[in-house]
């Protein structure tokens, strides 16, 4: 049997009948150093559709206090990219849903961009989100090596992104677009405003070639469902980090969280 390439893993999400894709973010090395595969496995078992693993960084400028703190704790715990690559080796056996890595550019640059992409490819990682690597910079210097290892680069758009630029980003996307829900850094918020809904409607009306997932500020069943009215699904980060922090028992905490978001 031909091995299903990781590229197809993401694509299979969009072809699925039942929409409402739930993507969950957590920071590698948080709360404890060696829980990455345990958290991923429990997320998968509880019904998450996509996993985003944060590569911790000392200066995460696009992140709010919750994710900043998880980054800091992870680094204090001793998390490094080298170690994360080791931890990801076990994923091939245990994790069948797609995995995306999210993080800032400098650690990747030090790891070596080509080596990083190769290792991601070998470990079945489907894609990358690198907020401070601009689209043009990527196209000019890194697209080729990402493609060589079947890695999708996921670009962000925001309410301030012009229609013209959204279309341009859509043309250069290969999987999905990450629609940042508001002019903001990451952080759990409650409710979705009319202004945000107007922006989601604008995105819908653009009739893009690629699906978009809505992230930043999605925190509960209500905001998740609202996002799913307009998008293929949504991405939750800070609210999950908070849940991890508060969980007495990791497994139950994760299951309860995913079920509460999905309204199960």
């Amino acid at each position: 049997m031909e091995k299903i390439s990781s590229t197809d893993k993401l694509a299979s999400l969009w072809h699925r009948e039942a929409g409402e894709i739930l993507s969950v973010y957590f920071t590698a090395g948080y709360p404890k150093l060696h829980q990455t595969s345990e958290i991923a496995a429990k997320l998968q078992e509880s019904g998450a559709d996509l996993i985003e693993i944060g590569m911790p960084y000392s200066d995460p400028v696009a992140d709010g206090p919750t994710i900043q703190q998880s980054n800091q704790v992870a680094l204090e715990n001793g998390m490094t990219l080298e170690l994360l690559m080791e931890q990801l080796l076990s994923f091939e056996q245990n994790i069948s849903i797609p995995v995306i890595l999210m993080g800032y550019f400098n650690p990747i640059l030090q790891y070596g961009v080509e080596r990083f992409c190769q290792h991601c490819g070998e470990r079945g990682v489907s894609g990358l989100i690198i907020p401070d690597l601009p689209v043009q910079e990527y196209l000019d210097h890194y697209q080729q090596v990402f493609q060589e290892f079947n890695l999708h680069n996921i670009f962000l758009i925001t309410p301030q992104t012009s229609d013209q630029r959204i279309r341009w980003i859509d043309r250069h996307s290969s999987s999905f677009i990450y629609a940042v829900s508001d002019a903001s850094i990451t952080g759990a918020r409650s409710g979705i405003s009319e202004r945000q809904e107007a922006y989601f409607k604008r995105l819908q009306s653009l009739d893009l070639q690629h699906p978009f997932l809505i992230g930043f500020g999605i925190s509960d069943n209500e905001t998740f469902r609202k996002a799913c009215q307009y998008a293929k699904g949504a991405i939750i980060g800070s609210a999950f980090i908070n849940a991890l922090k508060e969980a007495d028992e990791l497994g139950d905490g994760i299951e309860n969280f995913v079920h509460s978001i999905k309204g199960l």
């Binding site: 960084y57 000392s58 200066d59 995460p60 400028v61 696009a62 709010g64 206090p65 900043q68 800091q72 680094l75 490094t80 990219l81 080298e82 800032y104 550019f105 400098n106 650690p107 990747i108 640059l109 030090q110 790891y111 907020p131 401070d132 690597l133 601009p134 689209v135 910079e137 670009f155 962000l156 758009i157 925001t158 301030q160 992104t161 012009s162 630029r165 940042v180 002019a183 903001s184 850094i185």
Partner: protein, 393 residues
């Protein structure tokens, strides 16, 4: 070799704009309009007249005779310490607040380490009646209390940066985060030649008034338009960029950049970026920065809060890599001694940042008629407590 940016905002292979998409519209707006704005004659008139009547420019170029005798050459001090607010920082904040007005922004944010840039920003905001928020690391707020109060007195709000190591780099992160959250009505006045394109070039242009004046003043004093040496300290590198600017392409001028070695280059408590750092991305530009092998930013250390930054501007990374400028360093102790020396020999108490530039005089070998300009970037009032505590005078 060129020392100006190319069309993508790079000096050689350093620079660019490594920013999250959330900041793209702001950076694009600024990048597309800054040259047109600052080259407009009406803007230039306003900028120049504020520098003259408000800041007190031109700042004198003073022949320091006793210092010259000591080192066996002819040393001029470029007196940026005599500017309003006590440092070169105000050249940039005057320029940027006029840009912000032109862009129709109502609010200003800034980061500050020692508080000099914060004070210079609060000052121009008061002057223009604009709302001002300054981010400052919690640790720096404690060690630079008087500047915190000056900013408040000037009407600014000072917000503590409580993330990370709670110093300048974290204040910069907080300011960037604030800008992401308030992209439409706010302009971010960055305090040095760092950050995403077009900041390094824009700030360099505003600070280039320093070398423009040096040229004219040298011509008056010496009948020649360039010195043999220009010496400046480098934190992010704005006073050095301004002092070097009109000499970058003149190979007869030796450019000397002085970094803070802190307690010593190999002490683990240093801010000598070119010595200890590697190529990487910090605060939106490809540059040289102090980092771990895993690419995490290392917290720098220097006795002078203004040099306590883990990176340098991309222009300086290019000047370093190309060999156009020589990078040297001075320890806390050497800087203190140089500051005390200038106080006693010339009656000028320099900022500890500027004292690092003066310390380089000890390490260079001059011949009798060498013409040397040291950029005295700021005055030492703010550092009095450190001089009292750590200096031997």
């Amino acid at each position: 070799m060129s020392f100006s940016i190319d069309k993508n905002g790079y000096y050689g292979s350093f620079g660019g704009a490594f920013i999250p998409e959330m900041l793209y519209p702001n950076i694009e707006e600024l990048g597309n309009s800054y040259l047109e704005i600052i080259q407009d004659p009406v803007f230039q008139d306003k900028f120049r007249s504020l520098l003259k009547d408000y800041v007190g420019r031109p700042s004198p170029l003073f022949l320091a005779e006793r210092l010259s005798n000591k080192y066996g050459c002819k040393i001029y001090l470029k007196r940026e310490d005599l500017n309003h607010t006590g440092a070169h920082k105000v050249n940039n904040t005057i320029g940027q607040i006029l840009v912000a007005q032109k862009l129709g922004k109502q609010k200003i944010i800034a980061e500050t380490g020692a508080g000099q840039h914060g004070v210079a920003t609060a000052t121009v905001c008061a002057l223009m009646g604009m709302e001002c928020i300054v981010y400052m690391g919690e640790v720096d707020m404690a060690r630079q209390r008087p500047n915190v109060e000056r900013m408040k007195l000037l009407g600014a709000e000072v917000r503590p940066a409580t993330s990370g190591s709670r110093t300048l780099k974290d204040a910069t992160n907080e300011a960037l985060r604030h800008w992401i959250n308030h992209p439409v009505d706010t302009h971010y006045i960055i305090g040095s030649v760092v950050g995403p394109h077009p900041y390094p070039d824009m700030v360099t242009r505003f600070q280039s008034i320093i070398s423009e004046e040096i040229k004219q003043q040298l011509k008056e004093h010496e009948g020649r338009e360039y010195p043999d040496y220009v010496i400046a300290c480098v934190g992010g590198g704005s006073n050095a960029a301004g002092a070097f600017y009109h000499f970058n392409e003149n190979d007869q001028v030796r450019l000397i950049a002085v970094e803070a070695a802190g307690q010593g280059l190999s002490s683990g408590h240093s801010a000598a970026t070119t010595n200890l750092g590697k190529r990487g991305v910090l605060h939106g530009s490809m540059t040289i920065l102090m980092q771990t092998t895993d690419g995490q930013v290392v917290e720098p250390y220097s006795i002078s809060a203004g040099l306590d930054y883990p990176g340098i501007g991309p222009l300086h990374a290019h000047l370093f890599e190309s060999g156009r400028a020589s990078f040297m360093s001075a320890t806390d102790q050497q800087a203190l001694e140089a500051g005390i020396r200038l106080s006693k020999l010339e009656g000028i108490i320099p900022a500890l940042e500027s004292a690092h530039a003066l310390a380089a005089l000890e390490q260079l070998e001059f011949v009798g008629n060498d013409l040397v300009v040291v950029n005295l970037s700021g005055r030492g009032d703010k550092d009095l407590e450190t001089y009292i505590e750590k200096g031997k005078y």
